[in-house]
């Protein structure tokens, strides 16, 4: 039985963030936002950002998806609040590399390390990266745009 692997994917932190997602709300005064969709599984979320002088002052999301995509989005909002754009970009790269099996800076990840289990489940990598891609797209645009992963 491969329950050990499943427990690596569905760690307590992930289950907790899935049940009680943080920063899970609309943001009326956001100045960046983007829609993220995974048409294959129906995951759909919106990421809202309030950017002030190159710093992420506030970050939130809304939508529906599997445990992995919701937890990843929730963890992301916690990790990036208060970060500069450069710091956010760096973390985006590290998270992405962690899940796709490339080299990454483990010391930078903190709690985001719980997403490492995803790399053993290739079909689920897109669930975990959806919110990050959406955040990345939102930062690059000051109007609402859409991004899809499939």
């Amino acid at each position: 039985m491969s329950s050990a692997d499943l427990r690596d994917l569905y760690q307590q932190v992930i289950m907790d963030h899935n049940k009680k997602p943080r920063n899970f709300h609309e943001m009326s005064n956001a100045n960046h936002m983007a829609h993220g969709n995974n048409p294959l599984c129906g995951d759909a979320l919106v990421v809202y950002v309030k950017l002030n002088a190159g710093v992420i002052e506030d970050l939130s999301f809304q939508g529906s998806g599997c445990a992995i995509s919701v937890a990843s989005a929730s963890l992301m909002t916690e990790a990036l609040k208060g970060k500069t754009l450069e710091e956010a970009e760096y973390l985006y790269q590290q998270v992405h590399n962690q899940m796709t099996g490339e080299e990454f800076d483990a010391s930078s990840l903190g709690k985001l390390e719980v997403l490492s289990g995803v790399k053993e489940f290739p079909a689920r990598v897109k669930c975990a990266t959806l919110s990050w891609h959406t955040m990345h797209t939102a930062m690059d645009n000051d109007h609402d745009v859409s991004v899809t992963t499939e």
């Binding site: 039985m1 329950s3 692997d5 499943l6 569905y10 049940k19 599984c41 998806g65």
Partner: protein
């Protein structure tokens, strides 16, 4: 006690005898694509080993053998759906291509702005999008037969939906997302009473039940091979001969012509008019072998065994707390779609996979059905005749495992 000798049947399917993460494979994703018996695999490989050549051309021996095998497969398809003539059977890539062919070649020439195309709420995207494209091209309007909460078509307003502007009614025989078997025969009668032709998408019906196009009196019936134990990339379109005769070809090329000059091209007779280019010869032969295999097992027995599996699975899953079955029509085939409270279907799919159980999770290319039930996706188990009661238990154990992990 099963009607079928499942040990012998399963021995015909080499792919079933493997382990996934150390667990025996339990394949319950048949509505997406079915597995292939060794008889089909061998028919395809024997063709390439012994008979491969182009069809309908050349006087040499291999070309003749390839043509005989290809046309032999067409006769098997004719018998399988009880069409009157081999001329009424056109080989296509699959049901999707057939719907597009009918939309463009049969419906488009008679369509004006404001005309109507009638489909149902439970169609697969393959029986929605080609019509939407046609509506964009012509200004016609798409109308939709509604659905009830149990996942049956609400036919109370059908008379009103069939109007003098309706140019075709295109409906699924069996819903891929819900398993509902639609009363297509009665619906066809109602449409014909108003002179409206009917296309039936049989992709999810032919693997599970007897289909008789003359008894249904449908004008077109389309299906894919890969869902009925044949290779991918082959399918068939049945059309009434009189309608096919009148339709223009939809693709031009070799094999669909009698003569070509720069001034004039004379099209070939049925069914070759619709088979431009070298066809999927090996696929057609594989489809013929799949039909032979299903008939050897016995389609009535297949239907009965699958019914027993579905009834047992439905009972056992209904007994579990926190699980909701999506699609509870009276008359169903093969499909059990479900939601586990508090767990997204995608997570369900991963946890099942870890136990060696292959199910489909997602919107099943039927997003309007998902929107109707207000859900993003479902988990779907779908049965074929090689599935066993033990595999039904594996499905139930899988659900329990998900609930345990997400407790």
């Amino acid at each position: 006690m099963s009607l079928l000798d499942l040990t012998a049947i399963r021995n015909d399917f080499p792919i079933l005898h493997q382990e996934i993460y150390g667990q025996p494979l339990v394949y319950l994703d048949n509505a997406a694509s079915s597995q292939k018996p060794v008889q089909v695999i061998d028919a395809v490989s024997d063709y390439y080993r012994n008979d491969n050549a182009n069809v309908h051309r050349g006087v040499h021996r291999l070309s003749q053998r390839a043509t005989d095998a290809y046309e032999g497969a067409r006769s098997k398809v004719r018998g399988f759906v009880n069409a009157k003539s081999d001329k009424e059977i056109v080989f296509v890539r699959g049901a999707t291509e057939a719907v597009n062919l009918i939309a463009q070649s049969f419906v488009r020439p008679m369509l004006s702005a404001g005309d109507e195309i009638l489909i149902s709420h439970m169609e697969h995207h393959a029986n929605i999008v080609p019509w939407q494209m046609l509506c964009e091209q012509t200004g016609a309007r798409l109308k939709v037969i509604p659905m009830t909460q149990v996942g049956e078509l609400d036919l109370s307003g059908l008379e009103n939906l069939l109007t003098e502007r309706t140019k075709i009614m295109a409906i699924g025989h069996v819903s891929n997302a819900l398993g509902t078997v639609n009363p297509v025969k009665e619906m066809i009668e109602k449409a014909h009473a108003k002179g409206i032709p009917v296309l039936v998408d049989g992709a999810q019906a032919v693997p599970h039940m007897m289909v008789d196009v003359q008894d249904l009196d449908c004008d077109f019936y389309v299906f894919s091979g890969h869902k009925m134990f044949a290779p991918t990339g082959i399918g068939a379109m049945y059309g009434k001969q009189a309608l096919l005769e009148e339709m223009p070809p939809w693709q031009g090329g070799g094999d669909m012509i009698l003569s070509v000059s720069f001034d004039h091209t004379q099209y070939n007779e049925l069914p070759y008019k619709f088979e431009a280019g070298t066809p999927n010869i090996s696929g057609a032969i594989g489809l013929g072998a799949a039909i032979d295999y299903m008939q050897y097992i016995g389609i009535e027995k297949i239907a009965q065994h699958e019914h027993d599996l579905l009834v047992s699975a439905t009972e056992k899953v209904s007994d579990l707390a926190g699980v909701r079955i999506i699609g509870t029509a009276q008359n169903k085939a093969s499909v059990l779609s479900f939601m586990i409270d508090g767990v997204h279907p995608h997570d369900v799919g991963t946890i099942f996979d870890q136990q060696g159980v292959a199910i489909r999770t997602g919107h099943h290319c039927a997003q309007p059905v998902m929107q109707f039930f207000g859900i993003p996706a479902t988990a779907r188990a779908s049965f074929a005749f090689y599935n066993t009661m033990e595999e039904v238990d594996a499905l139930v154990d899988g659900i329990k495992k998900v609930q345990e992990l997400f407790a």
